[in-house]
Protein backbone atom coordinates (compact mmCIF):
# COMPACT_ATOMS: atom_id res chain seq x y z
CA UNK A 1 0.00 0.00 0.00
CA UNK A 2 2.64 2.46 1.10
CA UNK A 3 5.00 1.79 -1.80
CA UNK A 4 2.29 1.96 -4.42
CA UNK A 5 1.00 5.19 -2.85
CA UNK A 6 4.47 6.75 -3.05
CA UNK A 7 4.90 5.59 -6.64
CA UNK A 8 1.56 7.08 -7.62
CA UNK A 9 2.41 10.33 -5.85
CA UNK A 10 5.77 10.51 -7.62
CA UNK A 11 4.34 9.87 -11.08
CA UNK A 12 1.56 12.36 -10.45
CA UNK A 13 3.99 15.13 -9.51
CA UNK A 14 6.16 14.27 -12.51
CA UNK A 15 3.19 14.70 -14.80
CA UNK A 16 2.01 17.82 -13.04
CA UNK A 17 5.45 19.44 -12.96
CA UNK A 18 6.62 18.45 -16.39
CA UNK A 19 8.71 21.56 -17.07
CA UNK A 20 10.84 21.65 -13.91
CA UNK A 21 11.22 17.88 -14.10
CA UNK A 22 12.40 18.21 -17.66
CA UNK A 23 14.91 20.88 -16.62
CA UNK A 24 16.27 18.62 -13.88
CA UNK A 25 16.46 15.74 -16.33
CA UNK A 26 18.26 17.87 -18.90
CA UNK A 27 20.86 18.97 -16.38
CA UNK A 28 21.43 15.35 -15.38
CA UNK A 29 21.70 14.46 -19.06
CA UNK A 30 24.27 17.16 -19.83
CA UNK A 31 26.47 16.48 -16.84
CA UNK A 32 26.40 12.76 -17.44
CA UNK A 33 27.26 13.32 -21.08
CA UNK A 34 30.26 15.43 -20.09
CA UNK A 35 31.29 12.91 -17.47
CA UNK A 36 30.85 10.08 -19.94
CA UNK A 37 33.22 11.76 -22.36
CA UNK A 38 35.57 12.91 -19.67
CA UNK A 39 36.13 9.68 -17.78
CA UNK A 40 37.56 7.77 -20.78
CA UNK A 41 39.58 10.85 -21.74
CA UNK A 42 41.18 11.13 -18.32
CA UNK A 43 41.89 7.45 -18.41
CA UNK A 44 43.35 7.64 -21.88
CA UNK A 45 45.70 10.47 -20.96
CA UNK A 46 46.81 8.95 -17.69
CA UNK A 47 47.07 5.63 -19.50
CA UNK A 48 49.28 7.20 -22.14
CA UNK A 49 51.35 8.84 -19.44
CA UNK A 50 51.72 5.50 -17.72
CA UNK A 51 52.81 3.92 -20.96
CA UNK A 52 55.53 6.49 -21.36
CA UNK A 53 56.56 5.95 -17.78
CA UNK A 54 56.71 2.24 -18.56
CA UNK A 55 59.33 2.99 -21.18
CA UNK A 56 61.70 4.38 -18.61
CA UNK A 57 64.50 1.86 -18.44
CA UNK A 58 68.16 1.30 -17.85
CA UNK A 59 70.39 -0.01 -20.62
CA UNK A 60 73.21 -2.22 -19.51
CA UNK A 61 75.74 -2.45 -22.35
CA UNK A 62 78.15 -5.36 -22.21
CA UNK A 63 81.68 -5.10 -23.48
CA UNK A 64 81.81 -6.02 -27.15
CA UNK A 65 84.10 -8.93 -26.43
CA UNK A 66 81.99 -10.37 -23.57
CA UNK A 67 81.68 -14.14 -23.60
CA UNK A 68 78.46 -16.06 -23.23
CA UNK A 69 79.46 -17.09 -19.73
CA UNK A 70 79.96 -13.46 -18.76
CA UNK A 71 76.59 -12.54 -20.22
CA UNK A 72 75.01 -15.33 -18.17
CA UNK A 73 76.73 -14.04 -15.04
CA UNK A 74 75.47 -10.50 -15.57
CA UNK A 75 71.96 -11.79 -16.20
CA UNK A 76 72.07 -13.63 -12.87
CA UNK A 77 73.32 -10.48 -11.15
CA UNK A 78 70.45 -8.50 -12.62
CA UNK A 79 67.66 -10.92 -11.89
CA UNK A 80 68.79 -12.19 -8.49
CA UNK A 81 71.03 -9.74 -6.75
CA UNK A 82 69.90 -6.27 -7.81
CA UNK A 83 67.08 -4.37 -6.05
CA UNK A 84 64.25 -2.54 -7.87
CA UNK A 85 64.44 -4.71 -10.97
CA UNK A 86 61.09 -5.11 -12.71
CA UNK A 87 61.78 -6.75 -16.02
CA UNK A 88 64.95 -7.77 -17.82
CA UNK A 89 65.09 -8.15 -21.61
CA UNK A 90 68.21 -9.41 -23.31
CA UNK A 91 69.01 -8.11 -26.76
CA UNK A 92 71.92 -9.98 -28.24
CA UNK A 93 74.47 -8.45 -30.58
CA UNK A 94 72.93 -10.21 -33.55
CA UNK A 95 69.39 -9.21 -32.76
CA UNK A 96 70.35 -5.60 -32.29
CA UNK A 97 72.28 -5.64 -35.53
CA UNK A 98 69.36 -7.16 -37.48
CA UNK A 99 66.97 -4.59 -36.08
CA UNK A 100 69.18 -1.62 -36.77
CA UNK A 101 70.00 -2.90 -40.24
CA UNK A 102 66.35 -3.11 -41.08
CA UNK A 103 65.83 0.50 -40.04
CA UNK A 104 68.92 1.88 -41.70
CA UNK A 105 70.19 -0.57 -44.36
CA UNK A 106 72.73 1.67 -46.16
CA UNK A 107 74.59 2.73 -43.05
CA UNK A 108 75.00 -0.85 -41.86
CA UNK A 109 75.98 -1.96 -45.36
CA UNK A 110 78.92 0.40 -45.18
CA UNK A 111 79.83 -0.67 -41.68
CA UNK A 112 80.37 -4.28 -42.62
CA UNK A 113 80.99 -5.79 -39.20
CA UNK A 114 78.72 -5.60 -36.14
CA UNK A 115 79.82 -2.83 -33.73
CA UNK A 116 76.91 -3.31 -31.36
CA UNK A 117 77.30 -4.81 -27.90
CA UNK A 118 74.98 -7.25 -26.15
CA UNK A 119 72.46 -5.28 -24.17
CA UNK A 120 70.18 -5.82 -21.20
CA UNK A 121 67.13 -3.60 -21.08
CA UNK A 122 66.22 -3.39 -17.42
CA UNK A 123 62.86 -1.92 -16.42
CA UNK A 124 62.60 -0.79 -12.81
CA UNK A 125 59.76 -2.12 -10.62
CA UNK A 126 58.50 1.48 -10.29
CA UNK A 127 59.34 4.17 -12.83
CA UNK A 128 60.40 6.40 -9.94
CA UNK A 129 63.04 3.91 -8.87
CA UNK A 130 65.06 4.21 -12.05
CA UNK A 131 67.76 6.25 -10.33
CA UNK A 132 68.18 3.75 -7.51
CA UNK A 133 68.41 0.94 -10.04
CA UNK A 134 71.15 2.71 -11.86
CA UNK A 135 73.02 3.40 -8.62
CA UNK A 136 72.82 -0.28 -7.77
CA UNK A 137 74.25 -1.32 -11.11
CA UNK A 138 76.84 1.43 -11.36
CA UNK A 139 77.64 2.73 -7.85
CA UNK A 140 79.26 6.12 -7.54
CA UNK A 141 82.76 5.92 -6.11
CA UNK A 142 83.96 8.48 -3.54
CA UNK A 143 85.90 10.21 -6.30
CA UNK A 144 82.63 10.87 -8.18
CA UNK A 145 83.27 8.38 -10.96
CA UNK A 146 80.87 5.56 -11.70
CA UNK A 147 82.11 2.03 -11.57
CA UNK A 148 80.22 -1.01 -12.71
CA UNK A 149 79.22 -4.02 -10.63
CA UNK A 150 80.59 -6.48 -13.14
CA UNK A 151 83.77 -6.16 -15.13
CA UNK A 152 82.01 -7.47 -18.24
CA UNK A 153 79.69 -4.49 -18.24
CA UNK A 154 80.88 -1.63 -20.35
CA UNK A 155 78.40 1.03 -19.41
CA UNK A 156 75.06 1.60 -17.59
CA UNK A 157 72.90 4.30 -19.05
CA UNK A 158 69.43 5.55 -18.15
CA UNK A 159 68.98 8.45 -20.53
CA UNK A 160 68.72 10.62 -17.50
CA UNK A 161 67.32 13.85 -18.88
CA UNK A 162 64.51 12.24 -20.81
CA UNK A 163 63.52 10.15 -17.84
CA UNK A 164 63.16 13.04 -15.43
CA UNK A 165 61.28 15.03 -18.02
CA UNK A 166 58.84 12.23 -18.65
CA UNK A 167 58.31 11.62 -14.98
CA UNK A 168 57.53 15.25 -14.17
CA UNK A 169 55.34 15.63 -17.25
CA UNK A 170 53.21 12.62 -16.40
CA UNK A 171 52.90 13.79 -12.82
CA UNK A 172 51.56 17.16 -14.00
CA UNK A 173 49.17 15.54 -16.44
CA UNK A 174 47.79 13.19 -13.83
CA UNK A 175 47.39 15.93 -11.25
CA UNK A 176 45.68 18.37 -13.57
CA UNK A 177 43.35 15.69 -14.88
CA UNK A 178 42.39 14.66 -11.37
CA UNK A 179 41.77 18.31 -10.46
CA UNK A 180 39.68 18.85 -13.58
CA UNK A 181 37.65 15.72 -12.91
CA UNK A 182 36.98 16.78 -9.32
CA UNK A 183 35.86 20.24 -10.46
CA UNK A 184 33.59 18.73 -13.05
CA UNK A 185 31.95 16.39 -10.57
CA UNK A 186 31.46 19.28 -8.16
CA UNK A 187 29.95 21.44 -10.89
CA UNK A 188 27.55 18.73 -11.95
CA UNK A 189 26.41 18.02 -8.39
CA UNK A 190 25.79 21.74 -7.85
CA UNK A 191 23.95 22.06 -11.14
CA UNK A 192 21.69 19.12 -10.49
CA UNK A 193 20.92 20.02 -6.89
CA UNK A 194 20.22 23.59 -7.90
CA UNK A 195 17.75 22.54 -10.56
CA UNK A 196 16.04 20.19 -8.16
CA UNK A 197 15.90 22.88 -5.51
CA UNK A 198 14.23 25.21 -7.98
CA UNK A 199 11.57 22.68 -8.83
CA UNK A 200 11.04 22.01 -5.12
CA UNK A 201 10.84 25.70 -4.34
CA UNK A 202 7.88 25.92 -6.67
CA UNK A 203 6.19 23.31 -4.53
CA UNK A 204 7.08 24.52 -1.06
CA UNK A 205 3.48 25.51 -0.36
CA UNK A 206 2.44 21.99 -1.11
CA UNK A 207 4.95 20.67 1.41
CA UNK A 208 3.69 23.17 3.97
CA UNK A 209 0.12 21.92 3.56
CA UNK A 210 1.26 18.33 3.85
CA UNK A 211 2.98 19.14 7.12
CA UNK A 212 -0.15 20.83 8.42
CA UNK A 213 -2.34 17.79 7.89
CA UNK A 214 0.08 15.71 9.92
CA UNK A 215 2.23 14.00 7.31
CA UNK A 216 5.57 12.81 8.65
CA UNK A 217 8.76 14.06 7.06
CA UNK A 218 9.45 10.77 5.32
CA UNK A 219 5.89 10.48 4.11
CA UNK A 220 6.44 13.77 2.30
CA UNK A 221 9.97 12.98 1.26
CA UNK A 222 9.60 9.55 -0.32
CA UNK A 223 7.64 10.68 -3.39
CA UNK A 224 10.24 13.37 -4.00
CA UNK A 225 13.09 10.89 -3.70
CA UNK A 226 11.36 8.46 -6.06
CA UNK A 227 10.76 11.34 -8.44
CA UNK A 228 14.47 12.15 -8.24
CA UNK A 229 15.34 8.53 -9.00
CA UNK A 230 13.08 8.53 -12.04
CA UNK A 231 14.42 11.85 -13.31
CA UNK A 232 18.01 10.75 -12.72
CA UNK A 233 17.49 7.40 -14.39
CA UNK A 234 15.84 8.99 -17.43
CA UNK A 235 18.62 11.56 -17.79
CA UNK A 236 21.26 8.90 -17.28
CA UNK A 237 19.75 6.52 -19.82
CA UNK A 238 19.50 9.26 -22.43
CA UNK A 239 23.09 10.34 -21.83
CA UNK A 240 24.20 6.74 -22.22
CA UNK A 241 22.27 6.34 -25.46
CA UNK A 242 23.91 9.47 -26.87
CA UNK A 243 27.33 8.24 -25.78
CA UNK A 244 26.65 4.90 -27.40
CA UNK A 245 25.74 6.60 -30.68
CA UNK A 246 28.90 8.71 -30.50
CA UNK A 247 31.01 5.66 -29.75
CA UNK A 248 29.61 3.64 -32.64
CA UNK A 249 29.67 6.58 -35.08
CA UNK A 250 33.03 8.20 -34.28
CA UNK A 251 35.29 6.29 -31.92
CA UNK A 252 34.99 2.79 -33.31
CA UNK A 253 35.87 3.66 -36.96
CA UNK A 254 38.70 5.81 -35.68
CA UNK A 255 40.10 2.91 -33.75
CA UNK A 256 40.32 0.82 -36.90
CA UNK A 257 41.90 3.55 -39.02
CA UNK A 258 44.45 4.64 -36.50
CA UNK A 259 45.48 1.45 -34.86
CA UNK A 260 48.90 3.07 -34.48
CA UNK A 261 47.51 5.25 -31.73
CA UNK A 262 47.72 2.32 -29.42
CA UNK A 263 44.49 2.75 -27.48
CA UNK A 264 45.65 2.76 -23.92
CA UNK A 265 43.54 0.98 -21.38
CA UNK A 266 40.26 2.83 -20.90
CA UNK A 267 37.19 1.95 -18.93
CA UNK A 268 35.02 -0.79 -20.31
CA UNK A 269 31.91 0.71 -21.88
CA UNK A 270 29.60 -1.50 -19.83
CA UNK A 271 31.24 -0.42 -16.61
CA UNK A 272 31.05 3.20 -17.72
CA UNK A 273 27.30 2.80 -18.30
CA UNK A 274 26.81 1.38 -14.84
CA UNK A 275 28.89 4.12 -13.22
CA UNK A 276 27.01 6.88 -15.02
CA UNK A 277 23.60 5.41 -14.27
CA UNK A 278 24.39 4.88 -10.61
CA UNK A 279 25.85 8.38 -10.33
CA UNK A 280 22.90 10.11 -11.98
CA UNK A 281 20.31 8.23 -9.90
CA UNK A 282 22.19 8.72 -6.66
CA UNK A 283 22.90 12.40 -7.21
CA UNK A 284 19.36 13.35 -8.16
CA UNK A 285 17.69 11.19 -5.50
CA UNK A 286 19.97 12.56 -2.81
CA UNK A 287 19.58 16.03 -4.28
CA UNK A 288 15.80 16.03 -4.02
CA UNK A 289 15.79 14.32 -0.65
CA UNK A 290 18.27 16.76 0.84
CA UNK A 291 16.91 19.90 -0.80
CA UNK A 292 13.60 19.13 0.86
CA UNK A 293 15.10 19.54 4.32
CA UNK A 294 14.77 23.29 4.14
CA UNK A 295 11.09 23.17 3.38
CA UNK A 296 10.31 20.50 5.93
CA UNK A 297 11.07 22.83 8.81
CA UNK A 298 7.55 24.07 9.40
Amino acid sequence: MRVSFFLREASRSLRRNAVPSFAAMASVLVTMLVLGVFIPMVQATTGAANEVRGKVLVDVFMKTNATDAQVERVRRTLTQRTPHVGNVTYVSKAEAYAKEKRQNPEAYQLLGSNPLPDTFRVTPDEPGNVGKLRDALAPVTPSGERTVVDPAIDEVKNRRDETTKILSATRVIKLSMALLAALLVLASVLLISNTIRLSLFARRREVEVMKLVGATDWFIRWPFVIEGVIVGALGGVMAILLLLVAKVAFIDPLKQDFSLIAAPETINFGVLILVLLAASVAVSAAGSGLSLRRFLRV
Partner: protein
Protein backbone atom coordinates in the same frame (compact mmCIF):
# COMPACT_ATOMS: atom_id res chain seq x y z
CA UNK B 1 -10.05 33.47 42.83
CA UNK B 2 -9.25 35.14 46.15
CA UNK B 3 -8.15 38.74 46.42
CA UNK B 4 -4.62 37.88 47.55
CA UNK B 5 -4.26 35.46 44.69
CA UNK B 6 -5.30 38.14 42.30
CA UNK B 7 -2.70 40.49 43.69
CA UNK B 8 0.04 37.94 43.33
CA UNK B 9 -0.98 37.24 39.79
CA UNK B 10 -1.32 40.89 38.95
CA UNK B 11 2.27 41.48 39.95
CA UNK B 12 3.41 38.96 37.38
CA UNK B 13 1.16 40.25 34.69
CA UNK B 14 2.49 42.41 31.88
CA UNK B 15 1.49 46.01 31.76
CA UNK B 16 -0.92 45.59 28.87
CA UNK B 17 -2.83 42.94 30.73
CA UNK B 18 -2.97 44.98 33.94
CA UNK B 19 -4.34 47.88 32.02
CA UNK B 20 -6.87 45.61 30.44
CA UNK B 21 -7.95 44.33 33.83
CA UNK B 22 -8.87 47.82 34.82
CA UNK B 23 -11.58 47.76 32.18
CA UNK B 24 -14.91 46.15 32.90
CA UNK B 25 -14.24 42.50 32.28
CA UNK B 26 -17.06 40.07 31.63
CA UNK B 27 -18.24 37.34 34.00
CA UNK B 28 -15.53 36.04 36.35
CA UNK B 29 -13.10 34.52 33.92
CA UNK B 30 -13.07 30.77 33.95
CA UNK B 31 -9.62 30.98 32.50
CA UNK B 32 -8.32 31.92 35.90
CA UNK B 33 -8.42 28.42 37.42
CA UNK B 34 -4.82 27.43 37.62
CA UNK B 35 -4.45 23.68 38.15
CA UNK B 36 -4.68 21.52 35.01
CA UNK B 37 -8.19 20.27 34.53
CA UNK B 38 -9.12 17.09 32.69
CA UNK B 39 -12.14 18.82 31.15
CA UNK B 40 -9.94 21.36 29.42
CA UNK B 41 -8.99 20.68 25.86
CA UNK B 42 -6.82 23.77 25.66
CA UNK B 43 -4.99 25.49 28.49
CA UNK B 44 -2.85 28.58 28.04
CA UNK B 45 -0.86 29.61 31.10
CA UNK B 46 0.91 32.96 30.96
CA UNK B 47 1.91 32.34 27.37
CA UNK B 48 4.17 34.97 25.83
CA UNK B 49 5.29 34.95 22.25
CA UNK B 50 7.80 37.42 20.98
CA UNK B 51 8.73 37.19 17.35
CA UNK B 52 12.40 37.52 16.45
CA UNK B 53 11.70 40.83 14.70
CA UNK B 54 10.55 42.24 18.02
CA UNK B 55 6.81 42.06 17.46
CA UNK B 56 4.74 40.83 20.36
CA UNK B 57 2.46 37.99 19.34
CA UNK B 58 1.10 37.13 22.74
CA UNK B 59 1.65 38.80 26.08
CA UNK B 60 0.84 36.62 29.07
CA UNK B 61 -2.30 34.97 27.72
CA UNK B 62 -4.09 32.63 30.12
CA UNK B 63 -7.31 30.87 29.22
CA UNK B 64 -8.97 27.47 29.11
CA UNK B 65 -11.20 25.90 26.55
CA UNK B 66 -13.48 23.09 27.75
CA UNK B 67 -14.24 19.97 25.79
CA UNK B 68 -17.14 20.60 23.42
CA UNK B 69 -16.99 24.38 23.52
CA UNK B 70 -17.37 26.76 20.61
CA UNK B 71 -15.07 29.72 21.14
CA UNK B 72 -14.52 32.88 19.11
CA UNK B 73 -11.22 34.65 19.38
CA UNK B 74 -11.69 38.22 18.27
CA UNK B 75 -9.51 41.26 17.99
CA UNK B 76 -8.06 43.52 15.38
CA UNK B 77 -5.27 42.51 13.04
CA UNK B 78 -2.05 41.87 14.90
CA UNK B 79 -3.77 41.28 18.22
CA UNK B 80 -2.45 37.74 18.46
CA UNK B 81 -5.29 35.60 17.09
CA UNK B 82 -3.15 33.85 14.52
CA UNK B 83 -0.33 33.49 17.02
CA UNK B 84 -2.63 31.40 19.23
CA UNK B 85 -3.40 29.19 16.23
CA UNK B 86 0.25 28.86 15.29
CA UNK B 87 1.18 27.92 18.81
CA UNK B 88 -1.60 25.35 18.96
CA UNK B 89 -0.42 23.52 15.85
CA UNK B 90 3.11 23.82 17.19
CA UNK B 91 4.30 25.72 14.18
CA UNK B 92 5.93 28.09 16.65
CA UNK B 93 7.23 27.72 20.17
CA UNK B 94 6.10 30.21 22.84
CA UNK B 95 8.80 32.41 24.34
CA UNK B 96 7.49 31.55 27.79
CA UNK B 97 4.47 30.00 29.46
CA UNK B 98 2.83 26.60 29.10
CA UNK B 99 0.29 25.38 26.61
CA UNK B 100 -1.55 22.15 27.25
CA UNK B 101 -3.71 20.42 24.70
CA UNK B 102 -5.79 17.51 25.97
CA UNK B 103 -3.71 17.53 29.14
CA UNK B 104 -0.38 17.27 27.34
CA UNK B 105 2.14 20.09 27.59
CA UNK B 106 3.13 21.09 24.08
CA UNK B 107 6.76 21.77 24.88
CA UNK B 108 7.07 18.08 25.76
CA UNK B 109 6.03 17.04 22.25
CA UNK B 110 9.31 16.59 20.44
CA UNK B 111 9.87 17.48 16.81
CA UNK B 112 9.46 13.97 15.49
CA UNK B 113 6.08 13.58 17.16
CA UNK B 114 4.63 16.82 15.78
CA UNK B 115 3.00 15.16 12.74
CA UNK B 116 1.25 12.67 15.03
CA UNK B 117 0.15 15.47 17.33
CA UNK B 118 -1.25 17.48 14.40
CA UNK B 119 -3.43 14.59 13.31
CA UNK B 120 -5.59 15.31 16.35
CA UNK B 121 -6.25 18.85 15.23
CA UNK B 122 -8.16 19.99 12.20
CA UNK B 123 -7.04 23.33 10.82
CA UNK B 124 -8.87 25.72 8.50
CA UNK B 125 -7.14 28.79 7.12
CA UNK B 126 -8.23 32.04 5.60
CA UNK B 127 -6.39 31.21 2.38
CA UNK B 128 -7.71 27.60 2.32
CA UNK B 129 -4.24 26.08 1.77
CA UNK B 130 -5.47 23.43 -0.63
CA UNK B 131 -3.11 21.42 -2.79
CA UNK B 132 -3.63 23.12 -6.16
CA UNK B 133 -2.90 20.15 -8.38
CA UNK B 134 -5.19 17.67 -6.69
CA UNK B 135 -8.90 17.26 -7.05
CA UNK B 136 -11.30 17.92 -4.20
CA UNK B 137 -11.43 14.22 -3.49
CA UNK B 138 -7.64 13.85 -3.49
CA UNK B 139 -7.13 16.88 -1.27
CA UNK B 140 -9.27 15.30 1.40
CA UNK B 141 -7.87 11.84 0.75
CA UNK B 142 -4.32 13.11 1.20
CA UNK B 143 -5.03 14.16 4.78
CA UNK B 144 -6.25 10.64 5.46
CA UNK B 145 -3.41 8.83 3.76
CA UNK B 146 -0.91 11.02 5.61
CA UNK B 147 -2.21 9.45 8.79
CA UNK B 148 -1.65 5.99 7.35
CA UNK B 149 -5.26 5.17 6.51
CA UNK B 150 -5.88 2.27 4.16
CA UNK B 151 -7.36 2.78 0.73
CA UNK B 152 -10.55 1.11 1.85
CA UNK B 153 -10.89 3.51 4.75
CA UNK B 154 -10.29 6.46 2.44
CA UNK B 155 -12.92 5.27 0.01
CA UNK B 156 -15.40 4.99 2.84
CA UNK B 157 -14.68 8.24 4.66
CA UNK B 158 -13.98 10.81 1.96
CA UNK B 159 -17.36 10.76 0.17
CA UNK B 160 -18.99 10.88 3.58
CA UNK B 161 -17.30 14.04 4.72
CA UNK B 162 -17.73 15.63 1.30
CA UNK B 163 -21.45 14.96 1.52
CA UNK B 164 -21.49 16.55 4.95
CA UNK B 165 -19.87 19.67 3.54
CA UNK B 166 -22.09 19.72 0.47
CA UNK B 167 -19.43 18.98 -2.12
CA UNK B 168 -20.72 15.69 -3.48
CA UNK B 169 -20.99 17.08 -7.00
CA UNK B 170 -17.51 18.61 -7.06
CA UNK B 171 -15.44 15.51 -6.27
CA UNK B 172 -13.30 15.67 -9.38
CA UNK B 173 -12.90 19.43 -9.69
CA UNK B 174 -9.58 21.12 -9.02
CA UNK B 175 -9.44 23.92 -6.43
CA UNK B 176 -9.12 26.64 -9.07
CA UNK B 177 -12.41 25.50 -10.58
CA UNK B 178 -14.26 26.17 -7.33
CA UNK B 179 -15.63 29.32 -5.77
CA UNK B 180 -14.05 30.67 -2.60
CA UNK B 181 -16.83 29.28 -0.45
CA UNK B 182 -16.50 25.86 -2.01
CA UNK B 183 -12.74 25.90 -1.52
CA UNK B 184 -13.23 26.71 2.12
CA UNK B 185 -15.69 23.84 2.38
CA UNK B 186 -13.02 21.53 0.98
CA UNK B 187 -10.59 22.78 3.56
CA UNK B 188 -13.15 22.22 6.33
CA UNK B 189 -13.77 18.74 4.96
CA UNK B 190 -10.06 18.05 5.00
CA UNK B 191 -9.75 19.31 8.55
CA UNK B 192 -12.66 17.20 9.73
CA UNK B 193 -12.12 13.96 7.80
CA UNK B 194 -10.09 12.43 10.64
CA UNK B 195 -12.78 13.47 13.12
CA UNK B 196 -10.29 15.33 15.28
CA UNK B 197 -11.39 16.28 18.79
CA UNK B 198 -10.26 19.87 18.16
CA UNK B 199 -10.87 22.08 15.14
CA UNK B 200 -9.05 25.37 14.68
CA UNK B 201 -10.21 27.93 12.16
CA UNK B 202 -8.06 30.98 11.50
CA UNK B 203 -10.21 33.65 9.82
CA UNK B 204 -12.22 31.01 7.96
CA UNK B 205 -14.50 33.64 6.44
CA UNK B 206 -11.90 36.34 5.91
CA UNK B 207 -11.94 35.98 2.14
CA UNK B 208 -15.64 35.30 1.70
CA UNK B 209 -18.78 37.35 1.20
CA UNK B 210 -21.35 37.48 4.06
CA UNK B 211 -23.68 34.94 2.56
CA UNK B 212 -20.95 32.38 1.90
CA UNK B 213 -19.50 33.10 5.33
CA UNK B 214 -22.76 32.11 6.87
CA UNK B 215 -22.60 28.77 5.11
CA UNK B 216 -19.10 28.12 6.43
CA UNK B 217 -20.11 29.11 9.94
CA UNK B 218 -23.08 26.78 9.75
CA UNK B 219 -20.71 24.03 8.76
CA UNK B 220 -18.40 24.74 11.68
CA UNK B 221 -21.39 24.91 14.01
CA UNK B 222 -22.58 21.56 12.77
CA UNK B 223 -19.16 20.09 13.46
CA UNK B 224 -19.29 21.60 16.93
CA UNK B 225 -22.72 20.05 17.51
CA UNK B 226 -21.26 16.68 16.59
CA UNK B 227 -19.05 16.98 19.67
CA UNK B 228 -15.91 18.67 18.39
CA UNK B 229 -14.30 21.54 20.23
CA UNK B 230 -14.11 24.45 17.80
CA UNK B 231 -11.90 27.51 18.09
CA UNK B 232 -12.54 30.26 15.54
CA UNK B 233 -10.33 33.31 15.18
CA UNK B 234 -12.24 36.00 13.34
CA UNK B 235 -12.89 39.67 12.95
CA UNK B 236 -16.28 39.04 11.41
CA UNK B 237 -18.28 40.97 14.02
CA UNK B 238 -21.59 40.20 12.40
CA UNK B 239 -21.12 36.49 12.74
CA UNK B 240 -19.95 36.65 16.34
CA UNK B 241 -22.87 38.77 17.37
CA UNK B 242 -25.39 36.48 15.76
CA UNK B 243 -24.02 33.28 17.20
CA UNK B 244 -23.71 34.38 20.84
CA UNK B 245 -20.96 31.98 21.77
CA UNK B 246 -18.03 32.38 24.12
CA UNK B 247 -15.80 35.25 23.01
CA UNK B 248 -12.19 35.83 23.93
CA UNK B 249 -11.02 39.28 22.90
CA UNK B 250 -7.37 40.08 22.37
CA UNK B 251 -5.59 43.40 22.15
CA UNK B 252 -1.89 43.72 21.58
CA UNK B 253 -1.38 40.08 22.50
CA UNK B 254 -3.23 40.29 25.81
CA UNK B 255 -6.69 38.97 26.66
CA UNK B 256 -8.93 41.89 27.51
CA UNK B 257 -12.28 40.08 27.63
CA UNK B 258 -13.56 36.54 28.04
CA UNK B 259 -17.32 36.16 28.03
CA UNK B 260 -19.39 33.01 28.06
CA UNK B 261 -21.81 34.25 25.42
CA UNK B 262 -20.45 37.48 24.17
CA UNK B 263 -20.67 39.92 21.36
CA UNK B 264 -17.91 40.93 19.04
CA UNK B 265 -17.84 44.28 20.74
CA UNK B 266 -19.69 44.98 23.95
CA UNK B 267 -21.87 47.82 22.67
CA UNK B 268 -23.72 45.67 20.11
CA UNK B 269 -27.21 44.22 20.48
CA UNK B 270 -28.26 40.64 20.71
CA UNK B 271 -30.19 38.75 18.09
CA UNK B 272 -31.37 35.21 18.22
CA UNK B 273 -32.00 34.77 14.57
CA UNK B 274 -28.72 33.04 13.89
CA UNK B 275 -29.22 30.26 16.38
CA UNK B 276 -32.73 29.71 15.04
CA UNK B 277 -31.36 29.52 11.56
CA UNK B 278 -28.59 27.19 12.61
CA UNK B 279 -31.01 24.91 14.36
CA UNK B 280 -33.19 24.66 11.31
CA UNK B 281 -30.16 23.96 9.15
CA UNK B 282 -29.09 21.36 11.63
CA UNK B 283 -32.39 19.54 11.47
CA UNK B 284 -32.52 19.78 7.72
CA UNK B 285 -29.40 17.75 7.37
CA UNK B 286 -30.49 14.39 5.92
CA UNK B 287 -27.74 12.61 7.83
CA UNK B 288 -29.19 13.70 11.15
CA UNK B 289 -32.69 12.42 10.64
Amino acid sequence: MSASERQIRARHLPAARRRAQGQPVGPPARSADLPPDARNVIEFRQVCMHYPAGDIGLDGATFNVRRGEFVFIVGSTGSGKSTIMRLLIKEREPTSGTIRVAGRALHEVDRKKIPYYRRNIGVVFQDFKLLPNRTVYDNVAYALSATGASRKEIRAKVPDVLRLTGLSTKLHNYPDQLSGGEQQRVSVARAFVNHPPLLLADEPTGNLDPHTSLGIMQLLYRIYRAGTTVLVATHDSHMVDRMRRRVIELQGGAIIRDEASGLYAQREQTTDEFSDMLDSAYHDDPRRR
